[in-house]
């Protein structure tokens, strides 16, 4: 009875027509249905013993509002909830994984944009080409695609990744960066980011990506003890450049029910000093072995998509799933530059763009 009270309220006395929210939430007594009138379209007419008569939805269309509203496709719905059943784990880069979308197509056509976002959610990354190439254009791109608001973080709204002589982050040197996910030390590590190539004129510096979910699944299927360690041991992370101190502890792999949900893995910022204090040596030794197994898979070139991005290329990456890195590149010499810009987006905002009704 209480459940039906909560799930009904689709009449205008109980449900806000402009908010799509219940107007009353504090009636938690044992109300019972006293009479059922009948079915009309998507609703069942009901009376309760508190004297109220209203309507109960009997379909998803009815449940989502006062009128008849289109609901998103179930595929989009499940992709936005990160359900493994609709994701495609990849251990080798297929043509579908590296499929490229034309920027003008997705910017001008909402259905094509949703297809692009659905592809991203299915594979964990998606490529756009022929985007605007000037510095700071990334924010304009996001505005045009209506994928906002973006997420301000310790690197700013727009992180500019280019070579620095005294780098405040490993990304700003010219060394090889092993595959990793970004900002694992955040309590709410960013879920998605746009990686925009403004210029890539130096030798080397190829970008590469690999699907951690595929690797984790492999470990789950072949070495379940190691899988357990990766999902239960909390790894401390710490990043403390000048005037910042970011720290947190999380398992390498997080689950949602039985689904692989999120991975945090950034070797540069593992806080080993704290790790010693959190766990005994035997537990840590077993974790390091499990972690090494994961890393060997992640660093296997056969599992990696590698590309030298060109100006105007843009990659949307699932930071909870796909690891990224880059090869070393040369600096100095006759000129040329390597300039990338990054903007982070909350998952809910990407989801919103995929599911919203126009």
């Amino acid at each position: 009875a209480v459940v039906s009270t909560q799930s009904t309220g689709r009449c205008s006395d109980c449900f806000g027509g402009t908010s799509n929210q219940p107007l009353h939430t504090n009636d938690y007594t044992n109300i019972k249905i006293s009479h059922v009138e009948g079915i009309k379209d998507h609703f069942l007419s009901v009376s309760w013993d508190d004297g109220h008569s209203g309507i109960v939805p009997i379909s998803e269309t009815g449940a989502y509002g006062n009128g008849y509203k289109r609901t998103p496709s179930s595929r989009y719905y499940d992709l936005s909830l990160r359900k493994n059943a609709v994701q495609t784990f990849w251990d080798t880069p297929t043509n579908e994984v590296i499929k490229r979308f034309e920027y003008s197509d997705v910017a001008d056509d909402s259905d094509k944009l949703k297809e692009f976002l659905a592809h991203f959610m299915q594979y964990g990354l998606a490529f756009l080409f022929n985007t605007p190439q000037e510095p700071d254009d990334l924010l304009k791109i996001l505005y045009n695609l209506k994928i906002t608001p973006y997420w301000d973080n310790m690197f700013g709204i727009l992180s500019k990744v280019s070579f620095q002589r005294d780098p405040t982050n490993q990304a700003f040197n010219n060394q090889r960066l092993a595959a990793h996910t970004d900002m694992p030390y955040y309590t709410q590590t960013p879920s998605a980011y746009f990686f925009h190539c403004v210029a890539n004129e130096l030798d080397g510096g190829e970008s590469f990506w690999s699907d951690t979910f595929s690797a984790v699944k492999h470990i789950r299927d072949t070495e379940p003890d190691k899988y357990d360690l990766l999902t239960t041991i909390l790894v401390p992370f710490r990043q403390y450049p000048k005037e910042w101190h970011m720290a947190g502890r999380y398992p390498t792999v997080e689950l949602m029910g039985d689904d692989i949900y999120r991975v945090r893995d950034c070797c540069f910022v593992i806080d080993t000093y704290q790790f010693l204090r959190d766990y005994d040596a035997e537990t840590r030794e077993r974790w390091w072995q499990a972690y090494r197994t994961l890393r060997l898979l992640m660093e296997d070139p056969a599992r990696t998509v590698q590309q030298k991005l060109g100006a105007g290329d843009l990659v949307l990456i699932d930071n909870w799933r796909v690891q990224h890195g880059r090869n070393a590149f040369s600096v100095g010499g006759a000129g040329g530059r390597r300039a990338m810009e990054v903007a982070y987006i909350e998952w809910s905002h990407v989801q919103n763009r995929l599911l919203k009704m126009e």
Partner: protein
Amino acid sequence: MLGRLGASLNALSTRFSKNLQVRTNSTAQLTESGMLLDGRQLLHVETRNMCRCEKCLGKHSHTRPNLPFQGSNFPDVRAEEIGRVSDNFVSVRWSDGHEGLIARTFRGDYGPEPLASRVENLTDIIRRRNSEQIFWTGSNPEEQTKFWDWNWVVESSDNTREFLIHYIRYGIGFLTNIPLHLQMRDIVHDGLGIVRAIRKTVFAEVDLVRFQNNPTNAGYGTGGLPGHTDLAYYNQTPHVQFFHCLENTVDGGESFWVDAFSVIREMQETVPELVERLSDIPITFRYTPPGTGVFHLTNHPVVQFDKLNGDIHQVIDHPWSMDTAMFARTHPLETRIKWWEAYLHYRSLIEDGSRTYTRFLRGGEFVVLDNWRVYHGRKEFTWKEGQERVVATSYMDWNHMASRIMSTEVGDHVFLEIDQH
């Protein structure tokens, strides 16, 4: 930088050349699995990962560039020799030929004071350990509802830190005497010094909560709002919440707050099986106001615990956005019966007036709230022409709050004192 690096490496070589034999002492000993350092067993791979020399740890980034066992170069790196032992460091040589040093203390690993002592003393507070938090025991204990004077809080960094630590302990902090011309950014960025703080959501950077005809959200009406947490339909519900009362001249509309952690602790002691249901069973939250182009939904359990230590970690509870229809489709009846039993019991405690702190907020008053712990709500109010009730709200990531407490000040020296090793 290269000159200093060269000098440091020369110094390290000197320290090893005087200690050709493996040193064993009570402070540092090599063992089969790694090193026993100050009574703590370190693994070989860990010692290599902990090297704090300038070659291994970026001077300006404080991050290392690679893994200790990366690729085929050093698959089984081992600590082979212990060199000089100083107050904060131990010199080590590894099987990959590298000579460096690892930290014995917080100071050695994190850097000079005051950062080292802040890390050592405040780590549990910024981790929101229940042992460091003070759960509310009544509706109006003086310390919990204390109003902090804005001018005192912003007078010094230490004062700001003290206020923020109070907020962490109680899940709420009140500020008063804020100049009326200050806006949210002025208060949070410039006043409290929390940079890049405000997190944009579907409600923009700052949401002005005031009466609207045809409200697109329950908050914009005049009705009472039972205790709740915000943005439950977000995949990552925001953690820190700011309320800035700009104007309040209506009748009614008192704000109130409840400590959900206190409720959960009581239920853990009296009805633990109900708490288990609230943490095991996720439910769907959804926000789809018509005609706005907004479509948010996600699944969360109402209660979450820290996986390492079992602490109460987060509550998510927003009755208006519970997608009960979807709940009925995704969970069997028996599960839902158990969940509702637990939830109704929980809500009856949340709505127990004896647990609630109520206050009529006045213009210039400011509340910092732990949206993962403390519920907020308001009583209904009547609105007449000429009256206003305007509360500006914003959200922030926890880490920016924690960073404000833990980080060094502008100009502080932060690099390790390895030259003194």
